[in-house]
């Protein structure tokens, strides 16, 4: 029984049935996570709930099912995670952190509820202003990088979190963009990649964060695209999947971290797209829904969204266009930023 839905299936019909995108099961899988059907699993994932909601919602949007999660409850839940300092925790009662603040803003942007933030949000100045203040307070004004929270851990991932959220709020002016850009540039390694801090090992996830930050800042001109493209293209293994660093096992989530980085620097064609798409589809559970890190492993919503987003980059039929920097539907970014990509 074919489970593919949506227009333009031309490419898909060439694939055997088990390598078609099983949309309805994926939608049902994501919906089931929200239903607290499995109470135990709900508690075990509480400390990343807001990330999980962002992952699930993004996947649903990319599968053209934006209404599959209840909008009002989503907004209410997100706002319940906000602290008086303007930042968001993973769930009510959990400490604020840039990782969850970024997801909160991305979710509200996707369901078009940034006004609700203005009306109902907490913190000094209220609404977007309070969130902007929280994020700005986490920038290291000397070096330009960002701490994740008051405890000071610095990581290039947090630069992207900060700029991603601030740009969606139209508040990039509250931080020192030049310093942030300089810091990212200082993280460029001789091998073309980027790491967690200057001189750190190149890593696909950190590369995505650094390139994404430069993209938001409009400074992709500062990237050595050929060198980085070369490093990223070497992530593709024989079986078609991508790994995160030399000699590591492939993991389907790297379809996103590597794929989007290549897309942002205009070199996605430097990997074998069809082979990657085939690998991604082998990681799905076509009956129960969801994607796993590798074929046959247990599925989870993290690998689900990055698989679907990866397929979107590869223009797989049945998947909406994703913005390679934000990992959100391109249509949402256009609406929020009021421009084309």
């Amino acid at each position: 029984m074919s489970l593919v839905s949506g227009p333009g299936r031309a490419g898909a019909t060439a694939l055997p049935e088990e390598l078609q995108l099983a949309i309805e099961p994926h939608v049902k899988y994501i919906q089931s996570l929200d239903s607290r059907k499995d109470e135990l699993e709900y508690w075990l994932t509480e400390h990343l709930r807001l990330n999980g909601l962002y992952w699930g919602l993004t996947a649903l949007h990319l599968l053209s099912r934006p209404d599959a999660l209840p909008r009002d409850e989503t907004i209410k839940f997100v706002l319940s995670c906000q602290h008086d300092n303007g930042g968001f925790g993973a769930a009510p009662g959990h400490d604020a952190h840039l990782l969850y603040t970024c997801s909160a803003i991305q979710i509200l942007a996707m369901v078009d509820a940034l006004d609700d933030l203005d009306n109902l949000g907490k913190g000094e100045g209220g609404g977007r202003v309070a969130v902007g203040k929280y994020i700005a307070g986490l920038q290291n004004r000397e070096t330009g990088t960002f701490a994740g929270d008051e405890w000071g851990e610095e990581d290039t991932r947090f630069i992207l979190c900060a700029l991603n959220a601030l740009s969606l709020l139209h508040l990039l002016n509250v931080v020192d963009m030049n310093k942030a850009v300089d810091y990212v540039v200082s993280c460029a390694n001789f091998d073309g990649g980027y790491g967690v801090s200057p001189g750190a090992e190149s890593h696909s996830g950190q590369i995505y964060a650094c390139v994404g930050a430069l993209s938001i800042a409009g400074r992709l001109d500062l990237v050595n695209k050929d060198k980085l493209g070369r490093w990223l293209s070497e992530r593709q293994v024989e079986a078609g999947g991508l790994n995160g660093r030399p000699e590591k096992l492939e993991d389907v989530c790297y379809s996103w971290w590597v794929g989007s980085s290549l897309a942002m620097i205009g070199r996605l064609h430097w990997i074998d797209g069809p082979k990657l798409a085939e690998y991604i589809l082998k990681c799905q559970d076509p009956k129960e829904g969801g994607f796993a890190d590798r074929p046959g492993d247990m599925v989870d919503v993290f690998h689900t969204v990055f698989s679907i987003a990866g397929l979107s980059l590869l223009e797989f039929p049945g998947v909406e266009e994703v913005d390679p920097c934000y990992c959100m539907p391109k249509s949402v970014i256009e609406r929020v930023l009021g421009r084309n990509g």
Partner: protein, 352 residues
């Protein structure tokens, strides 16, 4: 990465009293110790007799995953009941619940942060008391970071927590022994979790921020070089070695190019002897040779080695691509830095 529970674990969660499981596990786990605790999980292939929630043998503890999950549910409740405004007499209860939570999931930042707050909250204890508390906290995080637990050894939250503790130790004037740290904690984590990104970035931070003398840095570089040669498929080790040799930090490039050439020669020599085609080895070699900080002889030795090895691995596509990528990358990226090129006969005194 998947936190999903398998159905068999879920199915076996009946009939047990979670509260007593929590009490049992937390008291074993949180006992006062002077040494690292070795922690392991037991899977369903190692069932324990009913009523037994862990195995403890001096400084080794093994906990069935099924029991830990149940203990976690209780820990979580206790934690969130106490975390806002915890009464003085319950501080240890809060701390213990955070320990169990972090054992279940090391990325639980609220639990990790609560431990920082508990340390800060201790009011103004005597310097000796604070140092003792910091030592205990370091022992806690180090036990998790060196455990045979896949996710804990590489956890950015736990490594970040360790950094915070070390910073506090510095501010109260506690000494820091990098060699001990390197051998008992950082490299242990690096070995138990190969290509351990956050362990190696922690080492970079330590070297750059905890007042490590140049002489010690050199010793460490040599030690890491030997470590890499014993772990040739570990890209993180080689990446750290490059960091040691890299010209980024100082303009004093001449000493560095002698070191680069020396290391390059040794790694290349072994790669040829053992016919290594590991991607990590060749990414390291192509990068260091391309930096322009090695003697000319190394450049030609590098290219010759690749050609010789290619002849020996005709049927190994991955090996061939590692070698060919190395050659191509080197050709595309080589730097020629005329003023700093080290002549071969200058090396005699270094290698002596």
């Amino acid at each position: 990465m998947s936190r999903a529970l398998d159905k068999e674990i879920v199915a076996s969660l009946q009939n047990d009293d979670p509260t007593s499981i929590y009490e049992d596990i937390s008291s074993a786990l949180c006992q006062d110790r002077e040494e690292l605790l070795e922690i392991e999980f037991l899977g369903k292939s190692h069932p324990l007799p009913p009523g037994t929630n862990f195995l403890l043998d001096e400084n080794s503890i093994a906990i069935p995953k099924v029991k830990l999950v149940q203990a976690f549910v209780v820990a979580r409740q206790i934690f969130f009941n106490l975390v806002d405004d915890c009464p003085e007499d319950k501080l240890h209860v809060l701390r213990n619940s955070a320990t169990v939570i972090l054992l279940m999931d090391p990325e639980h930042i609220t639990a990790a942060n609560s431990r920082k707050r508990l340390l800060l909250r201790a009011g103004a204890p005597s310097p000796e008391m604070l140092k003792a508390m910091l030592r205990k906290e370091l022992l806690f995080v180090d036990s998790f970071l060196t455990a045979r637990l896949h996710r804990h050894t590489k956890s950015p939250t736990l490594w970040g927590h360790r950094r915070w503790i070390l910073e506090k130790c510095q501010t109260v004037g506690m000494g820091y022994d990098i060699q001990q740290d390197l051998h008992t904690i950082i490299l242990v984590a690096a070995e138990r979790h190969p290509r351990n990104y956050y362990a190696w970035s922690h080492l970079r931070w330590v070297v750059q921020n905890l007042c490590v003398e140049d002489k010690t840095k050199s010793e460490i570089s040599l030690f890491i070089k030997d470590w890499c040669l014993r772990n040739p498929s570990d890209i993180s080790g080689f990446s750290f070695l490059l960091f040691c040799l890299a010209p980024f930090e100082t303009p004093e490039n001449v000493p560095r190019s002698e070191a680069s050439t020396f290391v390059c020669e040794e790694v290349l020599g072994l790669a040829v002897s053992f016919k290594w085609t590991y991607e990590s080895v060749w990414v390291f070699l192509r990068t260091i040779v391309a930096t322009g900080l090695v003697a000319n002889s190394q450049r030609s030795a590098f290219l010759e080695a690749i050609n010789n090895l290619l002849a020996t691995c005709q049927d190994e596509p991955k090996a061939r691509s590692n070698l060919k990528n190395a050659m191509r990358w080197f050709e595309e990226n080589q730097q020629t830095n005329v003023s700093l090129r080290v002549k071969d006969n200058d090396l005699a005194s270094v290698q002596g």
